[in-house]
């Protein structure tokens, strides 16, 4: 059975496998290895995923969603047509599309997968990723932290050297830092830190805001469609700014076409507050590893957002080292995840490689602390597994009841670094029955076990009865129960999906429609003519003609789209 590896990103997703030649990325129906993490409904109410959906973000903003990874494990609903979906379900649709691509490419059924997640994803978000996999009909064998995967991709080439390197992963929506040490074929993650709410999309938002200021009061009046268009242009301008000093865009407000410009200097200014946020996680990872920045030999940049010169400069200044970029920052995580797949399957090319990872945050429980006066104060955090402990790990603490004769305890499980639980993240609450004992305080053990995928299991054993309660964290507002997952899986199964073999043509149409939105006058009417032409070619159903028309159309669209950005 083939084990595939999936990089389920905020902006783009990839699927890969480990072969004799090493990690290989699998292209989608359009021939791209990057599939945009966007989901939408077509006009015929069929589900569409990928580039086509991304284009329709501009033309059909109400029937398309992207950037839902940020809401994994939350109760936020996305309304698509008549039904509402959770972020897990939208992710499942992306996973299903990737799965179909892999099956077509490899010629076998794919049911087992490894999925990469940001190192800083908490327990709820990790379980949500598992659930998404399940809803897509995949058995998720393992979750791997994204920076660790990136390090695997880089480290494989130098597995026999002794090296310490820092992986800085700024993706579409999340920021992760990991420190790795390689010795004798062992890849050891020393420390991880991060920010689950910082990524390239925030830089795009900063550009949108800047354009908004330039537009003035008009900006407030824009409808959803125009907003989508502006964001799309801002995103492309941001990418272009990595090459040029100044970028202009032509924006169709609905009434007229406005020219907006942004210089690199201005961009650096509007993104300064985001750049500042990079510092703390880097600092923390280094100090947690018991190191100083000067002990680091190599800096590896991962994630599309690290292409921005302002990010590179800042990292260089902080670490006084020039970053490496041998591998494509968009591909690294998927390639590393494939290496992990090879490791799990004990591929012979990876015989003498072992990887160990850490738990990036402190996990613990809520406790009440006794005052000198005899009263109790609740709300204190008691760490059980300290952050950056090597996993798998199992740790135990012994607590006792606050009162004699107490028959129940409510145990709050938290993640975080603050001494008070109110400042930490609640992972779940557990109710445990305690045998009634009016004479003494009952003692009980709380054991936390954190496995290689970063999933937490809590076992509470009461001393007197020796009864062990294995507790799965459920009932958190953001997590789904097993029954609900299988119910949603069946519902997703029923959805009509836009046929894959037509994806290439549909992508051209959605691209034409997007271009149409942003143009005025002659160009606009030219596009609508082309649209009619292309549709008539499609109706003739001659494969060679269609192929020719498609490549011609894409070339022409490249040209038209370049006119937007100058």
């Amino acid at each position: 059975m083939t084990l595939v590896a999936i990089d389920l990103g905020t902006t783009n997703s990839l699927i890969s496998v480990f072969t004799e030649e090493g990690p290989v990325l699998i292209p989608n129906a359009l021939g791209d290895v990057l599939t945009p993490s966007a989901v939408g409904l077509s006009n015929a109410n069929e589900v569409i995923v990928g580039a086509q959906a991304k284009n329709r973000l501009v033309t059909h903003p109400k029937k398309t969603f992207a950037r839902f990874k940020r809401y994994m494990g939350t109760n936020r609903d996305f309304k698509l047509g008549r039904k509402t979906y959770r972020a897990e379900e939208l992710s499942a649709l992306v996973l299903r599309s990737l799965k179909a691509d892999a099956e077509k490419h490899l010629g076998v059924t794919v049911t087992r997968a490894i999925i990469s997640v940001p190192a800083y994803f908490n327990d709820v978000q990790r379980k949500a990723t598992y659930a998404a996999g399940k809803m897509a009909g995949l058995t998720v064998e393992r979750l791997i932290n994204e920076p660790t995967a990136a390090a695997l991709a880089y480290g494989l080439n130098s597995k026999d050297d002794e090296n310490t390197f820092i992986v800085i992963d700024l993706g579409g929506g999340t920021f992760d830092v990991s420190i790795l040490e390689i010795f004798d074929g062992i890849m050891e993650v020393r420390a991880s830190a991060g920010d689950a709410f910082l990524g390239g999309e925030d830089f795009t938002d900063a550009v949108v805001k800047e354009f908004g200021t330039q537009l003035g009061p008009q900006f407030e009046k824009l409808d959803a469609k125009a907003h989508g268009l502006l964001r799309d242009l801002a995103d492309r301008a941001k990418v272009e700014l990595s090459q040029k000093e100044e970028v202009g865009v032509k924006f169709n407000t609905g009434k007229d076409q406005v020219k907006l410009t942004i210089t690199r200097e201005k961009f650096d200014e509007v993104s300064a507050s985001l750049i500042k946020k990079l510092r703390m996680p880097i600092q923390r990872a280094i100090s947690d590893a018991g190191m100083r920045a000067e002990n680091i030999d190599r800096v590896v940049l991962v994630g599309g957002a690290t292409r921005m010169p302002v990010v590179r400069q800042h990292v260089t200044r902080l670490l006084k080292l020039f970053p490496e970029h041998k591998l494509d920052p968009d591909h690294v995580v998927a390639m590393g995840a494939a290496v992990q797949a090879g490791l799990v399957d004990r591929h012979e090319a990876l015989e003498d490689v072992v990887m160990t990872d850490v738990c990036p945050f402190t996990l613990g429980t809520e406790v009440a602390i006794e005052h000198k006066s005899g009263g109790f104060e609740a709300g204190h955090f008691q760490p059980v597994i300290e952050r950056n402990t090597v996993i798998p790990v199992s740790r135990v603490v012994t607590n006792s009841t606050v009162r004699k004769g107490q028959t129940q305890i409510e145990l709050g499980i938290y993640q975080g670094e603050a001494p008070r639980v109110k400042d930490n993240v609640l992972l779940g609450k557990l109710n445990i029955a305690i045998p009634k004992n009016p004479k003494e305080h009952e003692a009980f053990d709380i054991r936390f076990t954190y496995d290689v995928s970063g999933i937490l299991e809590v076992i509470v054993t009461v001393h007197s009865s020796q009864k062990a309660n294995t507790l799965i964290l459920e009932g958190n507002p953001g997590s789904l129960s097993q029954a609900e997952i299988s119910k949603r899986f069946k519902e997703l199964e029923k959805l009509k999906v836009h046929p894959k073999d037509k994806a290439e043509n549909a992508a051209v149409i959605s691209r034409l429609e997007r271009a149409y939105e942003n143009q005025l006058g002659d160009v606009r009417s030219m596009i609508s003519h082309r649209l009619v032409d292309f549709q008539s070619v499609l109706e003739a159903q001659k494969e060679t003609d269609i192929e020719l028309a498609r490549s011609e159309m894409n070339k022409w669209l490249d040209h038209i789209e370049n006119m937007d950005i100058f």
């Binding site: 393992r142 062992i186 018991g290 100083r292 200044r317 072992v354 798998p392 400042d423 496995d451």
Partner: protein, 254 residues
């Protein structure tokens, strides 16, 4: 085992660990791995710190407990304890540009002595934003210097420094400026610092009357549409107030 140089010990322990790890993989034998990891971490720490027989005995015990059949790792570890010396591999000596510490410490002291500068946020900001502090190591060093200088300037090291109700002089730094310093130095939540350092920061916080900053818990960031709720509650509050007003007017009429 030919361990002539003490600095080799860390490497030897790592090598032995690496060999063993290839047999006991973390994803296949979780329990075995946990025992091995425990042994490794303790071996590493003992090699670093142990300087008497105690370390030797404790370590041997630990090895027998954890990896009973692993005589190799044990041998190396015992060797490493015999040749004890603190290795500078993981805790390297701090190397800085010459005079950095003195320069910075003098600068901070001068600012503290100058009544205008010490109460000016922008003067402090200028110091904190000094381009010389832009690298991570320099910043970490600077924070240590800043902490040390403040502590000694405000009398932490004086004989009565820890007494709760000792007489205090007039406040030299306003709590607003002190809070600003804490903001800039990241001392409101000094989670990355050692226990002692956290204690020192806590002392400074009380001494300088720093205003506490509440950290936003991460979960709050999930919700984008909170305004609706406040409008909703606001609505009830308005209704409540109106009802009270009605009630009051009825009562007063009587």
């Amino acid at each position: 085992m030919g361990l002539d140089e003490a600095t080799n010990d860390q490497r030897q322990i790592k090598k032995a660990y690496a060999r063993k790890l290839k047999e006991i993989r973390p994803d296949e034998d979780a329990a075995g791995f946990m025992a091995l990891r425990d042994a490794f971490e303790r071996a590493r720490d003992y090699a670093k710190y142990a300087d008497d027989e105690n370390g030797n005995i404790a370590f041997t015990d630990m090895i027998f407990e954890a990896v009973k059949d692993d005589s190799e790792l044990e041998q190396i570890a015992i060797q490493s304890v015999v040749n004890v010396q603190i290795s500078d591999e993981d805790y390297p000596l701090i190397e800085k540009p010459l005079g950095f510490e003195e320069r910075m410490s003098t600068r901070i002291q001068e600012m503290l002595k100058n009544p205008w500068e010490r109460s000016s946020k922008s003067a402090w900001d200028e110091l904190f934003e000094d381009p010389e502090l832009s690298s991570l190591d320099a910043e970490a060093d600077f924070k240590n210097i800043m902490r040390g200088t403040l502590l000694s300037y405000f009398g932490y090291y004086d004989a009565d420094g820890h007494e709760q109700n000792r007489p205090r002089g007039p406040k030299k730094v306003s709590s607003e400026v002190a809070t600003f310093m804490f903001d800039k130095m990241g001392w409101h939540y000094p989670e990355t610092l050692s226990f002692n350092q956290q204690h020192e920061i806590e002392w400074l916080r009380q001494e300088l009357d720093v205003i506490n900053r509440d950290k936003k818990p991460m979960t709050e960031l999930y919700d984008d549409d909170d305004e609706n709720e406040s409008i909703f509650f606001g609505f009830f509050i308005v209704i409540g107030l109106y009802a009270l007003y009605q009630l009051a007017s009825v009562l007063f009429d009587k």
